[in-house]
């Protein structure tokens, strides 16, 4: 193995921001720079499942922001309606891209307060009714553009599909559609403006719900896609080694143990962090590359599921149509046993080995598989279907065990 230098790093289980991203994010510099290059061409959808580090990547990208870009980052996962979204956007823009003039600042101040207080009586006066959330959105983004002059304003919306799904689940499909259409219209009217939509919940799930309501629009078809993939092998080893060193984990040979950690984690930064953390907390004797392979068993058994593997199971109930949830689980149960992948005919046959799905047709199976693929659970490779991440496959197999009939 070539000589490799590691720099000590501490495990960070949580979030980073643009201020500390450069120190905390390893192996993504090229990807961050590539992100800006692609953004010059047009708005983007950043796609990946959870845990892949896309939010960290975006903060790193912000830290490495070229001079001609000005970006604002919003996480909207917790929001339940477009009014709150509009409010949060306005708060962000007006605060992070400050006005220089007093009047401009006042206007921003008033606009921010408006949706909360409009129409109310305060003392002797009535606060006038301001315009609706759409105008608030428009004003915010127009202001954003105007405040940075010639630069390219970038609006990064993290977990936007979650917001849309929350709005849809309360029966306000039209509002979700309007939001998407409004954002699209703004991209068209402000040609320098760039939007980045990111989400661990796929837009395909949101769109399938909207399509059921008769929506035929294509609100993201002009947006490019930017995949956040697992780290390259070298970067995974580097990150693992930095963390092992930083956390004083005893290793027989640091580089080879780091390489083993990189592989066993499927080169996903979040899992690398968690594995090193687990090794640190079980640091009784020096870790060898072979010993690393048993870490996962320990992690899977850990009370409280610190690496949040259960999320892969639970999200099926939260976001999938109810008649697909059981089928999806059964498919994943089967695939979890087959590390080499399964061909479609064989998969259909194995699904039919379960009483509840004996009558499933190939068409129905393909529909569910397609959703699982778009959702990053499953990939199709060499004509077979398999779990996208080996670590998730192992967890699933351990957690779900044999199929309950």
């Amino acid at each position: 193995m070539p000589e490799r230098e590691f720099e000590p790093m501490k495990v960070v289980i949580g979030s980073v921001n643009r201020d500390n991203a450069q120190q905390s994010v390893v192996g993504r510099d090229d990807m961050a720079d590539q992100f800006w290059e692609e953004l010059r061409r047009g708005s983007l959808q950043v796609l990946s499942e959870r845990r892949m580090g896309k939010t960290w990547l975006l903060h790193l990208a912000q830290a490495r922001e070229p001079e001609d870009f000005v970006s604002v980052f919003l996480n909207v996962e917790d929001l339940k309606n477009v009014l709150d979204f509009s409010q949060r956007l306005m708060d962000k823009v007006y605060v992070e891209v400050p006005a220089t003039g007093k009047i401009d600042r006042l206007k921003g101040y008033v606009k921010r307060r408006a949706p909360r207080v409009e129409g109310q009586d305060v003392g002797k006066l009535k606060i006038p009714t301001f315009s609706n959330w759409k105008e608030g959105l428009q004003h915010a983004l127009t202001t954003f553009q105007s405040r940075i002059g010639e630069g390219m304003p970038v609006l990064i919306l993290d977990e936007l599909p979650h917001l849309l799904d929350s709005v849809i689940q309360t029966g306000r499909h039209e509002e979700a559609i309007e939001l998407l259409d409004t954002l699209r219209a703004l991209r068209q009217s402000l040609p320098n403006l760039r939007m980045v939509y990111c989400g661990s919940l796929g837009f395909h799930i949101v769109f399938s719900k909207l399509h059921k309501e008769g929506y035929t629009g294509q609100p993201v078809n002009e947006m490019g896609t930017f995949d956040v993939l697992p780290l390259k092998s070298e970067a995974a080893t580097q990150l693992a080694g930095n963390l092992l060193l930083g956390e004083d984990v005893q290793c027989t040979e640091l580089a080879s143990v780091a390489s083993a950690v990189g592989e066993v984690s499927a080169r996903v930064p979040f899992y690398i962090q968690n594995i090193v953390h687990w090794m640190w907390s079980h640091n009784e004797q020096a870790w060898s590359p072979d010993a690393v392979s048993v870490v996962l068993n320990g992690m899977f058994d850990d009370v409280g599921d610190p690496a949040k593997f259960k999320y892969y199971d639970q999200r099926l109930d939260q976001h999938y149509p109810s008649d697909w949830v059981e089928q999806a689980r059964i498919i994943l149960d089967i695939l979890s046993r087959e590390s080499d992948g399964v061909q479609i005919e064989q998969l259909l046959n194995l699904v039919r080995h379960i009483e509840r799905t004996t009558s499933l047709t190939q068409d129905d199976l393909l529909k569910v598989l397609e959703v699982l693929r778009e959702d990053h659970y499953v990939v199709r490779q060499d004509g077979t279907y398999r779990f996208k991440l080996e670590i998730v496959r192992k967890w699933w197999h351990t957690a779900r065990g044999s199929i309950r009939t």
């Binding site: 006042l106 305060v122 109810s322 039919r352 080995h353 009483e355």
Partner: protein
């Protein structure tokens, strides 16, 4: 039944290939051709395949296998050797038994080989004998009832069987089974993934009709074919479909009974068919069951609707655990099926016709309910009247029973309008809709309703209209329950408009419900003025209407009117309306009305609080508690919990802290274990409220314990309904020095997303602090709270100040200055002094500012636009 039918339906293997082919449905034909092609390919490639056809009894497995076998046998120049093990091959408990069955099929004299076959290596001996016979020739083994066979084999025997087949790659298997074999889903089963599964589905209603036509055509029964193509046919097929569950064999068995001239009786041939053919068919299976399973099966059969495990256990006097395991066995045997509704599985007979047989076994002299149901659905009322008059004996009993079920007695003289077959169909589908609504499958319910509506012809028939109105109303309710209030609103409006002119009472009830629900939908959408108008419109039309069900709607519409008035701030009017609910409906025992009374009382209390009539509010809550404390209905439990919570806080604010404490304790004791989120919310408030009441009583240690208990129970909750009480409790804990940095961070995170809550918390916090100056010192060390205080104060200050254009400019400047000033001020004490003085000034204490240092005073004066600096 003709001998032809008996053979075709029960022993298709004895039919000619031509008959088999003629009676194959399209989907079976496609599967057969696929199997035939696949098996032929094994011959040409010297390979093997293992197919397993799965289908309930009577779905045509043997028919399919026989057709495939027959076709393959007729293939010219084929070197395929076919061995069929008979369906009744009994006693296969091991691999060697299986091999012996194969040898028997080859007419080998087994008797001469007993000693060798009995030895430990008997199976090797048998394999060798078969190898001598078959050599390397492509061989197809046809095996029926594979699951039964495998059930008798242990794992070792199954492995031996698999090994035998794998070693002999020229042997293929075409098997059939009513169910998957036990353990088929387990990856470590010897035969997991071994067979290619081909499911055979039951017929759908439409396909059932096609199947009967095909059967009739093959028998050359043109009259029957024509009657099956008539308009009434589908309704009749549906009636029979329900008894057979879409089972091919059973439909075929009934088909002879279904051929009828207008007045040809159905009862006699049906009962005869049941007695002669069905009973032996089912008896064989029932007698083979263990006693416990037979008891469970009878319990299920006695009920027409599906049952849960708990219900079945109760009816069969067994434990739930035993019942559950026996049901699993019955399911594997294909005798029952289950469907998931919500969290529970509901079980019913796989073949409803078995109910008929069990009914016969339990009481020969009685009229059998299943047959009565068939007659009721099969014939129209006029026909039943006529048949009842023309027959005697038990046939007449059946027709009269069926007529009674249609709601018309044989002796009735009034005109029989005759039920439209559409009505019977509608009743069936509406029952399905009700079931879906009960299990919260609202999307599915809407889909079924759309289907009903799209298939209904345009008609002015009142009966059809009533059903259609009911269906559309359900659709609106389904929309509402799934949060789609705009669509619900449209729906209710449509029902009200479309059926307004119908006088039939049943339709008027639906119109009333639609109008009432329209108000509810408007309320959900926040359109309170419109909701009020809708309620008033309804009450104008229906308030004094005594028709069945309408007064229930009046009760909850009055309640909703009160809600709308309350939301509009018209609390006086709201109280009046709630009182009307109490006066009119207190004595009405209908559960839905009682719910309206309970909620009206609760809301009356709330409105009285808003009017400042706190003593009256307490009285209203006490009234609710007196009436409903013992009621277990979920909605009423919620209103009791809320009443207790609200009462507690009112008492506290009235200074009656002892009583407040008692009330909160009562709530926590009653509902502490209740896991329903809205009730948990009230428990959380109670624990918080209890703490604040204790503080006012000077019982500070107990106050702290109350918050500790709160944090233990709710501190980690992320449920949105609990965030408010969590934030408030943490704020209080911080004030009394019991809080921590993580708690502060949690509170900050909650408040970050809720401006209103933040302002409210800090208002109350400082109101409390003014009463406890000693505690203010506690705040000095918490830097983050200090920052939050600034934000909270400016927001509060801003909400108190008027906002003209000029003042807005000054406020922006003032905010900037205030913030900067606050940052420069050391120690939270000074910040709080400034805040409390500003607040006191706004409440009318003009001397309050004099208590401040000059610099701070100037800031506040400027912010308020008073003093020299503002001019």
């Amino acid at each position: 039944m003709s001998s032809f039918d008996v053979v075709l339906l029960f022993s298709p293997q004895n039919c000619s290939l031509e008959v088999l082919e003629r009676n194959l449905t399209d989907d079976r034909r496609a599967l057969a051709e696929k199997l035939i092609a696949g098996i032929r390919e094994t011959v040409s490639r010297a390979a093997s395949r293992y197919d397993l056809v799965i289908g309930s009894r009577g779905t045509g497995k043997t028919h399919l296998l026989s057709y495939v076998e027959g076709t393959l046998r007729e293939t010219k120049n084929s070197s395929l050797h076919i061995v069929r093990l008979s369906e009744e091959e009994l006693g296969i408990t091991s691999h060697v038994d299986f091999l012996v069955a194969c040898l028997r099929a080859e007419n080998v004299a087994i008797e001469e080989m007993y000693e060798e076959l009995r030895s430990d290596t008997g199976y090797e001996f048998a394999e060798d004998r078969l190898s001598d016979i078959w050599g390397d020739a492509s061989t197809l083994l046809i095996v029926e009832n594979l699951a039964s066979m495998l059930r008798e084999m242990d794992e070792i025997e199954q492995r031996r069987l698999r090994g035998f087949l794998q070693r002999n790659a020229h042997i293929s298997v075409l098997a059939a089974s009513p169910t998957l074999f036990e353990g088929s889903a387990k990856a470590d089963h010897p035969l997991y993934g071994f067979f290619l599964i081909h499911p055979l589905d039951q017929l759908t209603r439409l396909k059932a009709r096609d199947f009967l036509i095909q059967l009739a055509e093959s028998k050359g029964d043109t009259d029957f074919v024509e009657s099956l193509r008539s308009e009434k046919a589908q309704a009749r097929v549906n009636a029979v479909y329900d008894l057979t569950g879409g089972n091919h064999r059973l439909l075929g068995m009934l088909s002879e009974c279904l051929t009828a001239d207008e007045l040809k009786t159905l009862v006699e041939p049906f009962v005869r068919m049941v007695d002669r053919e069905l009973t032996p068919y089912y008896q064989q299976r029932l007698f083979a069951l263990p006693a416990q399973q037979a008891k469970i099966l009878r319990a299920i059969a006695r009920n027409e609707s599906p049952l849960t495990v708990k219900e079945i256990a109760r009816l069969s006097l067994a434990s739930e655990q035993t019942t559950s395991s026996q049901l699993r066995a019955l399911k594997e045997a294909g005798l029952v099926r289950s469907e998931q509704h919500g969290r529970e599985s509901h079980y019913e007979l796989q073949e409803p016709l078995m109910r008929v047989v069990l009914e016969i076994k339990e009481g020969r002299e009685k009229v059998l309910p299943s047959i009565v149901a068939l007659l009721r659905d099969w014939y129209e009322a006029e026909e039943l009247k006529d048949l009842a008059q023309k027959n005697d004996g038990f046939s007449r009993d059946y027709y009269q029973a069926a007529l009674s079920q249609k709601g018309i007695t044989a002796a009735a003289t009034r005109e029989v309008h005759g039920s439209d077959p559409a009505i019977e169909g509608l009743n069936y589908f509406l029952a399905e809709v009700n079931q879906l609504m009960d299990s919260e499958s609202y999307e599915a319910a809407i889909a079924v309703i759309d289907d009903i509506v799209s298939h209904l012809p345009e008609t002015d028939e009142p009966e059809t209209g009533a059903k259609l109105a009911e269906a559309l109303l359900h659709k609106g309710i389904a929309f509402g329950k799934s949060g789609r209030h705009e669509e619900a609103l449209v729906n209710f409006g449509e029902v009200a408009a479309r059926f307004a002119e119908y006088e039939m009472p049943e339709i008027q009830t639906q119109v009333a419900r639609a109008l009432g629900n329209k108000g509810v939908a408007l309320g959900w959408l926040g359109r309170n003025e419109d909701a009020l108008e809708a309620s008033e419109d309804f009450l104008t039309r229906f308030k004094e209407n005594d028709a069945l069900g309408i007064q229930d709607v009046v009760a909850w519409t009055l309640y909703n009117k009160g809600c709308a008035l309350g939301d509009l701030g018209r609390h006086d009017d709201a109280v009046e309306v709630y009182e009307e609910v109490l006066v009119r409906f207190s004595e009405d025992e209908a559960p839905i009305v009682q719910e309206s009374v309970a909620w009206a009382l609760g809301n009356k209390g709330f409105s009285l609080e808003r009017l400042g009539r706190h003593d009256d509010a307490v009285e209203a809550y006490d009234d609710l508690l007196a009436r409903f404390s013992e009621d277990e209905a979920p909605n009423i439990l919620e209103s009791v919990a809320r009443a207790l919570s609200n009462k507690g806080f009112v008492l506290r604010d009235l200074g009656r802290n002892d009583e407040a404490f008692e009330t909160f304790e009562d709530l926590a004791a009653r509902f502490g274990e209740n896991e329903v989120p809205v009730i948990q919310e009230q428990v959380a408030w109670a624990l918080f409220g209890k703490g604040t009441a204790l503080a006012r009583l000077g019982r500070f240690e107990e106050e702290k314990s109350s918050y500790d208990e709160f944090m233990k129970r709710f501190g980690k909750s992320e449920h949105e309904k609990l965030l408010g009480p969590v934030a408030r409790t943490i704020a209080r804990r911080l004030v009394i020095g019991a809080g921590s940095e993580p708690e502060l961070n949690k509170m900050a995170a909650i408040l970050e997303n809720d401006d209103g809550l933040a302002v409210d918390i800090f208002k109350r916090l400082f109101e409390d602090l003014l009463d406890r100056p000693d505690d203010l010192r506690q705040l000095a060390g918490l830097k983050k709270l200090q920052e939050e205080l600034v934000i909270g104060m400016t927001q509060w200050a801003q909400s108190q100040l008027p906002l003209s254009k000029e003042e807005a400019e000054e406020l922006a400047e003032a905010e900037r200055n205030l913030y900067e000033a606050f940052l420069a001020i050391e120690g939270a004490q000074k910040v709080l002094d400034l805040f409390s003085a500003a607040r006191a000034y706004s409440l009318g204490d003009k001397k309050a500012l004099l208590r401040l240092p000059l610099e701070s005073r100037r800031l506040v004066e400027r912010a308020y636009g008073i003093g020299e600096d503002s001019r």
